[in-house]
């Protein structure tokens, strides 16, 4: 038992009212099948998945419905057997409240699985095979961001992974999904850690749990001592302080290493995975089950039966809220995610996605309407609690003034949007919202810059193409002119040659021929006058035609030029 691990610390942080007990009263509840499942094509960070089924298709439970497009993307699978009703735009659980393409599945209630292909002995399998299996199972980070797990597990060949950290901190108030998972499925989580260790070949694996989850710690320690094989896993108990579950904060807390700005943890030889993700990896490898369900904490004063529910992905929120016996009279705000980093939802028709760890149905006392902000009094409390050692106050001024360059220089990109600064602000300034807006403006600016560079390249390419086409046309015309000049010269030379050889000059000959023809015409006319009285009009016309022919005939070989 290595609970004596030396801990470091991270700057800032705050102590929040935990509010975790409400949802810990019940074991993990199962959820009856809803009428329909709504599966957004984008439940992860990266490229949108591509649907490989169409409306009317019958699908089995666990059948792949959408394939990843590109490296940073994720597939997803049918959470239950049934019929695909439609693939259409539907509201998705995103902070913007926008809609996106979703596959709508109507369950048939039979829950008949497709053929599963577990990997019986992961120790005998090649790491690449396991990573591919994880990719095929559609596993993404289940802690909040939803980054495809297989990407994290495919480090560049030269990277050396020293440490694997399992993030079981769950530092946000109210959320208990990982806590309950560890209590009930500790062995599965440990199995997942062993699989990850086999893939990454790391020297040590640390499962980090906050000290406010004693039951989960006991369960995990129990599962760890039960392991027969030798392992490198240890459990680190870290003091409860928000946001100790932030990736960079957790690494700093456990190893003392700081991840450089803009670099992934891989840069310091560390990979961090969430507990629920680790458990999903275990299900995918050892049981062959793709990611089709997750544990969601339903909590808040507006619910009469708060707890953790194992919901199929795509389950409408309304279905879960009914199950947790929501009291709509008490409900003031519905939040997806935790109270610090989550976002308010407008609709209960939205589905559960891979990253939904909590639904907080708060009453007006828990989540009062925000009071208007006062002016900044420059107290500096925000800088004291910032876990990324930024200067929140300066960033606030830059954001207000639209000074994007300054904000960038002051490392706005390193802000993890934890909300600690807003929480302690005595003037109740919504600081994080300013930072998010400014981050958006910065992203927009860099996208615009990229586009304008691209447009410049295309414009310059077009200019050069037009110039080339013009040059080609000129060259062609010149070549044609040269060819005709040559032909002319050749003809002249031939004429000169003919003159030299004694014959009358060609042009002179022609004149003679014309003159001869005219003479012939005259003669014929004279003859015709003589015979006019004897012959009829028709014969004259015939003669005239003949004359025209004879005049035209010699002009035929003439050069049109």
């Amino acid at each position: 038992m290595s609970i004596s691990r030396k801990l470091y610390s991270f700057p800032g942080g705050i102590h929040l009212p935990e509010n975790k007990l409400q949802s810990l009263g019940l074991p993990i509840q199962s959820v009856p099948l809803p009428d329909k499942l709504i599966l957004p094509l984008q439940q992860h960070i990266g490229a949108v998945a591509k649907a490989i089924v169409k409306a009317g298709d019958l699908v089995k439970k666990g059948q792949c419905l959408a394939q990843p497009q590109g490296f940073v993307s994720a597939s997803f699978h049918a959470p239950t057997s049934g019929t695909i009703v439609e693939i259409a735009e539907h509201e998705i659980p995103h902070v913007s409240g926008l809609s996106g393409l979703c596959i709508v599945l109507q369950p048939d209630g039979e829950e008949s699985w497709c053929e599963l292909q577990p990997i019986a002995d992961f120790n005998a399998a090649a790491p690449a095979e396991l990573v591919e299996k994880i990719r095929q199972s559609g596993i993404t980070g289940m802690g909040g961001a939803g980054f495809p797990t297989s990407v994290k597990l495919s480090p560049p060949a030269n990277a050396k992974i020293e440490t694997l950290i399992i993030n079981a901190v769950e530092c946000e108030p109210y959320i208990t999904a990982d806590d309950m998972l560890m209590r009930e499925q500790a062995a599965g989580v440990i199995e997942g850690v062993l699989i990850l260790t086999h893939i990454l070949k790391n020297r040590e694996a640390i499962i980090a749990i906050e000290d406010n989850k004693p039951n989960a710690i006991t369960a995990m320690q129990h599962a760890l001592t039960g392991l027969s094989e030798p392992h490198c896993i240890e459990i680190a108990i870290i003091p409860t302080r928000y946001p100790s579950g932030g990736e960079k904060q957790l690494i700093q807390n456990l190893t003392g290493k700081e991840v450089p700005s803009g670099k992934p943890p891989l840069h310091v030889g560390i990979v961090v995975q969430n507990t629920a993700t680790t458990y999903a990896i275990h299900r995918a490898i050892s049981h062959g089950e793709p990611l089709i369900s997750r544990i969601v904490t339903l909590t808040g004063e507006a619910l009469n039966k708060p707890g953790n529910y194992e919901a199929l992905l795509g389950t409408p929120i309304e279905h879960l809220l009914q199950l947790a016996e929501i009291d709509n009279k008490k409900l003031s705000r519905l939040i997806m995610g935790g109270p610090m980093m989550g976002f308010a939802l407008d609709s209960t028709e939205l589905p559960i996605v891979k990253t939904t760890n909590c639904l907080l149905a708060a009453n007006s006392a828990e989540y009062p309407e925000p009071t208007p902000a006062n002016a900044c009094i420059r107290c500096g409390a925000c800088a004291e609690v910032c876990p990324a050692s930024l200067l929140p106050q300066q960033l606030f001024w830059f954001s207000m003034g639209g000074e994007l360059d300054k904000a960038e220089q002051y490392n706005l990109a390193d802000c993890i949007e934890c909300g600690a600064c807003s929480y302690v602000c005595p003037s109740r300034i919504p600081l994080v919202q300013y930072y998010r807006a400014t981050k958006g403006e910065l992203a927009q600016r860099s996208a615009d810059l990229k586009q304008s560079d691209h447009a410049r390249d295309r414009f310059e390419f077009r200019e050069s193409r037009l110039a080339r086409e013009k040059a080609e046309k000129d060259a062609k015309r010149k070549a044609r002119a040269a060819a005709s000049a040559k032909a002319q010269a050749a003809k002249k030379a031939a004429a000169a040659l003919a003159e030299k050889e004694g014959g009358a000059p060609a042009t002179g000959g022609e004149t003679d021929m014309v003159a001869a023809a005219l003479a012939r015409v005259e003669a014929k006319k004279a003859e015709a006058k003589k015979t006019e009285q004897k012959q009829d009009v028709e014969s004259t016309t015939e003669q005239k035609e003949a004359v025209t022919e004879s005049v035209e005939a010699p002009s035929k070989p003439q050069d049109p030029s």
Binding site: Q42, I92, H94, V95, S96, L98, G100, P372, A373, N374, S399, P430, Q433, Y434, R436, A437, T438, K439, G440, E441, A443, Q444, D448, Q451, S452, D453, H454, A455, R456, R458, F459, E460, F461, R462, E463
Partner: protein, 197 residues
């Protein structure tokens, strides 16, 4: 004697340094005008020609030659400010003669059933963002369109619309919070016009 030494030493030094400078001016000769590239990098590259130059680079060359920096409506105030910073000139208001700054970025869309396939817009597009062939329907590659408007005018059947880009989950971003003054009704400043009347 010393004066002679000085008289000879100075021209000698001058010769040596002159030689070095001459060598450097040939060896490290700068191709083209770097300031034009810097100006061009600040221009929005819509290639719309509203500045009355045939593209952004020609305008950059004209600015380097002394033309005013306020003739680029797509770039707007922000571009004028950046150019003023770069060149050490005064910030001028946008020259209304060349057009107005648009609030949102617009992109060309062809109403495809109405397109007669005349290829006039294809020839007008400065960034080759329109696909099509004679007597075939044309379409705009939305990702490549700079919203320069140049294709609208030549279209004989007026089937090109300039529409704002739709916000998607990928491009959406947070808005800045409203200042408190706008949130509290009682603190709203009555407009001067209202106060007078």
């Amino acid at each position: 004697m010393t004066i002679l030494l000085a008289i000879f030493a100075l021209p000698l030094l001058a010769l040596i340094f002159g030689g070095i400078l001459g060598f450097a001016s040939i060896k490290f000769k700068v191709e083209g005008d770097p300031i034009v590239d810097q100006i061009n990098a600040l221009l929005p590259q819509t290639q719309c020609g509203q500045c009355s130059h045939p593209g952004c680079r020609p305008y950059a060359e004209a600015i380097a030659a002394g033309e005013d920096i306020n003739k680029c409506p797509p770039g707007g105030e922000a571009t004028i400010e950046e150019l003023a910073n770069l060149l050490g000139r005064d910030i001028l208001p946008l020259d209304a003669e060349h057009g107005e700054e648009k609030e949102v970025k617009l992109i060309a869309y062809i109403r495809e059933p109405e397109c007669i396939g005349c290829t006039k817009c294809i020839q007008a597009c400065p960034v080759d963002a329109i696909l099509g062939a004679a007597k075939q329907m044309h379409t705009v590659i939305v990702d490549e369109c700079t919203g320069c408007d140049l294709c609208v005018e030549p279209c004989p059947v007026d089937c090109i619309d300039m529409l704002p880009i739709e916000t998607t989950v990928q491009t959406w971003s947070w808005e800045r919070p409203k200042p408190a003054v706008e949130l509290i009704a009682s603190e709203h400043q009555p407009l001067r016009a209202e106060a007078v009347s």
